[in-house]
Amino acid sequence: MPVLPGAAWELSPSVSLRPEPFGALAYDFVTRKLSFLKSPTLVDVVRRLADAADVEDALLGAGVPAAERDRYVAALGTLAASGIIRERVAA
């Protein structure tokens, strides 16, 4: 499922996100998969998702330059595909 900039996402509850010098490690307790987030900015984006209105909002808040936007959206797509992040259910 592609991550659309206008959609609302969040970190899956079964995932532990741990900062590291290079970015972060995300471990999913259910799938036992380990994901390596290679940029501290990406980690910032992921952390902002839950409170941001949508993906676009989180990208802006983390200061992702326009030229990098697609790269970050692609990264979010990878995280979504493995269940690290999930769509927020509308309240």
Binding site: P19, E20, L25, F29, L34
Partner: protein, 404 residues
């Protein structure tokens, strides 16, 4: 913050791992040296409880540290962890504090009631040890009645609805021919098969010459893993076999193909000693003690041994080998306990690069800890006399025979 030694930006995860992490991804926690069994190859030379064992409160304080550090999960072993009266309490405490638990057990105490409890607990995984697909092969290594106890435990777990628990096998000369049968046993109980490497550690050093797989068996194992690998776990312990694959690295087995000691994993032993790896219980790989050196976080981040392991390692002679990228020089513990230099080939180097060194004079360091039983044990290993694997050809016993 880990004191990074010129860590590269971006790149592959494996490259980052060599420089270490702020916390282990997971680690082995040997809860006790006490054990009801006396397996001939025990990596921790277990049997008798050590009177200096961490108390229940000390164990909980350690779990609190794991939680703060966000250690994802711990592999609890020993000895036999379930012989500690507070085992079940500590299990629940860890899970309640966001630390996943996988524990290794001989199964004797996995009763139907315990199995029910485990099946109902999230973030807990169980690993049943078995080293033979038949009781003849298994009990020779692990002891009389241990095969039956393991299968009973698996039946109890299955009946309780526990899915995907692990059947963990140490590969030896006598069980390499049973890989399909192991898979069948795992399938029967709804378990996942895990094959791991025998290291010459603990009591394993005494039996390594007779038990470690022969060269043609290593090849058999590699081929089997390539064919069945996506359903079988290996604890990433066979990365030295990746050198069987082509030079471009495409034949590497799945997993990290990297020694994680002191970088992404480590061992906490029953008395609070912290070692680089559970297969390296020796003063040379001792990073510190929880009680004396400020606790686990401090040791992980600042112990000189660990900082040294996180700096670029010299691969020595191995860096010249075409297979180096896949095998990375093999297992540090295997080299150490067979008396080989750490910057040289693994004793089971698939290219045979350690043959000369193994045939020559070498000094084998013993373990720093020996808690083996001294008296008789109820479930003593049953000597394997009639089942001795006969060599099929001269090549089975020496890879150099064909050169003559």
């Amino acid at each position: 913050m880990t004191i990074a030694v010129e860590r590269p930006q971006g790149g592959r995860l494996v490259d980052q791992f060599e420089y270490g992490l702020d916390a282990p991804i997971c680690l082995t926690w040997e809860l006790t040296y006490a054990c009801n069994l006396a397996c001939v190859h025990c990596l921790s030379s277990s049997g008798r409880r050590d009177p200096r064992e961490l108390s229940t409160d000390e164990c909980k304080a350690l779990i609190d540290e794991f939680e703060r550090m966000q250690v994802f999960y711990v592999n609890v072993g020993g000895g036999e962890p379930t012989v500690r009266p507070d085992f079940w309490e500590l299990l629940d405490y860890a899970v309640a504090h966001h630390v996943g638990v996988k524990f290794s057990t001989n199964g004797f105490r996995i009763t139907p009631e315990r199995a029910e409890r485990l099946a109902a607990t999230d973030y807990v995984d169980v690993q049943i040890s078995l080293d033979g697909a038949t009781s003849e092969v298994n009990d020779a290594v692990r002891g009389q009645g241990t095969y039956d106890a393991a299968l009973r435990a698996m039946a109890n777990l299955q009946a309780a609805g526990m899915k995907d628990f692990k059947l963990s096998v140490v590969c030896t000369r006598h069980n390499i021919g049973q890989l399909d049968e192991f898979k069948a046993i795992a399938d029967t109980y709804g378990a996942q098969l895990r094959l791991t490497r025998l290291r010459p550690s603990g009591r394993g050093a005494d039996v390594w010459d007779e038990l470690h797989p022969l060269p043609h068996q290593q090849r058999e194992l590699y081929d089997w893993l390539v064919a069945n690998g996506d359903q079988v776990l290996t604890g990433d312990s066979f990365f030295h076999l990746s050198a069987y694959g082509p030079a471009d690295g495409s034949g590497a087995l799945p997993g990290l193909n990297l020694c994680g000691a002191g970088r992404v994993v480590c061992l906490v032993d029953p008395v609070g000693d912290v070692y680089a790896c559970p297969f390296a219980i020796h003063d040379q790989f001792l990073a510190g003690n929880l009680r004396e050196d400020g606790g686990f976080d401090t040791i992980w981040k600042t112990a000189p041994l660990f900082l040294d392991l996180r700096s670029p390692q010299t691969g020595g002679a191995c860096t010249q080998c075409s297979a180096y990228d896949s095998c990375r020089g093999g297992c540090m513990a295997a080299k150490f306990f067979t008396g080989l230099p750490l910057d040289g080939p693994d004793p089971e180097c698939v290219k045979g690069n350690s043959e000369t060194a193994l045939a020559g004079d070498r000094e084998r360091p013993g373990s720093s800890q020996d808690h083996s039983h001294t008296g008789t044990v109820r479930n003593a290993p049953v000597p394997l006399t009639l089942l001795r694997t006969r060599p099929v050809s001269a090549c089975d016993e020496s890879p150099l025979v064909s050169q003559q």
